[in-house]
Subunit: 175 residues, 3 copies
């Protein structure tokens, strides 16, 4: 069977925790014959290490994997010059978490990403957690994170060719 | 007016807290002339007792009610041999909570339920809470619960004939 | 360009935190040539003051602004006799928070609002936070708030001409 072509441009794939958003994105890239996986997550504890191992095991051999917790833009720029296949970033919320923990300039990094994405020739699938549908968190850092994530998602959605919300494993088209 | 027939197979009805998901499911069964209600909730405090009383009062006389906090599969198997009417399970998230509190083998119970559901002749409506759209909880048990619920929902959704997300009392079709 | 007319009746606009729900509602009123903005939020700390200032700055000159943390019904009744333009209430969840903090009779206030809304000749846009898609909060006041908000949203949705869920800045039609 001929691989399905993934269209150029950005596809934002949102979902809640354990919604099947990563699997949905991975299946798209696998159906297209594989691609590059940019893992933004860092194994800072056993729970996280388990998650990363679980994701890696599921992906199998069609992937080149790059682990990059902070410099997402740098990796995307390099890939855009080297390859043609689709790139899957999993996920934006972990990247944002790493930027907050590392005390990076988050607004500047978001600007940089939003300026870069429309210029890429590569098809890019961006996976991210929708985290704003609960009660206001008591923790100030969690509130700040939620605000950053919401603004980032709005910016990315506006420049995306396609936005999908994955609910219990099933994709709902948002844009 | 002739009662509306509910199709065979599984209908997963998801919603947030106070979204109207139970009422939507109950109204479907009432329109079909009634059925069996499996309540998985346990009145472990006054708040919960109030919720259960509120639900019971709303349901009225068209229902046979079975209270079963753990052995959901056993009850469904028995009902499948005894009756033809629809069965409403309210809700999967409380069943999962009871399994966690009772230190049952959750993965095994989920496997058992997912193996059983496609074999039932009864129409089954499963109500459950979507809990994964907020910030990562600080409490490890809450994180584990969220993971179990998400995986359970994906499994059930994959085998369901119909999946509905209830938002502010209004059903949105997901599958 | 002729301003877009906003239809009479109630339009409930829901979204998560930083979902773009306020901006979506504001843009509708701006496209209609402006209207009255009822701000229910109170600057009880610096974080809140920043949010209010940010919203005000974005709105610009097409608006009359009324700040009213509690007596939303009184303001709507007065406006209905004085003006014809659309009214935007931002937001119901802050109004509910103010009622809880002020120990008002919340059920009575919700009844009053739901009795009033269908009688208004004005187009009314009500912005509110969907807060029920996370884990059950550990804090009892947060649980009570979530219950009030969910019931309020269901009541308002039932009487609304239109219900929109804003996801990452993009409106999804619910009703």
């Amino acid at each position: 069977m001929a691989p399905k072509v993934i269209e150029n441009g950005v596809h934002l794939i949102l979902g809640g925790a354990r919604s099947g958003k990563s699997k949905f994105a991975e299946d798209m890239v696998i159906a297209a014959g594989g691609g590059t996986y940019i893992a933004t997550g860092r194994a800072w504890d056993d729970e996280m290490a388990d998650r990363i191992a679980h994701h890696k095991q599921r992906r199998g051999p069609l992937w080149a994997t790059i682990e990059e917790p902070h410099d997402l833009c740098g990796v995307l720029e390099r890939l855009d010059q080297q390859s043609e296949g689709p790139v899957l970033v999993d996920c934006l919320t972990l990247w944002l978490t790493n930027l907050m923990i590392g005390e990076h300039d988050i607004e500047a990094e978001i600007e940089r990403l939003c300026a870069l994405l429309p210029r890429l020739a590569l098809p890019v699938l961006l996976v991210s957690n929708e985290v704003g549908f609960g009660i206001v968190p008591e923790n100030a850092m969690a509130r700040a994170f939620r605000d950053h994530a919401g603004r980032l998602h709005q910016r990315i959605a506006a420049l995306s060719r396609q936005v999908t919300l994955v609910v219990v494993g099933i994709p709902m088209s948002v844009k």
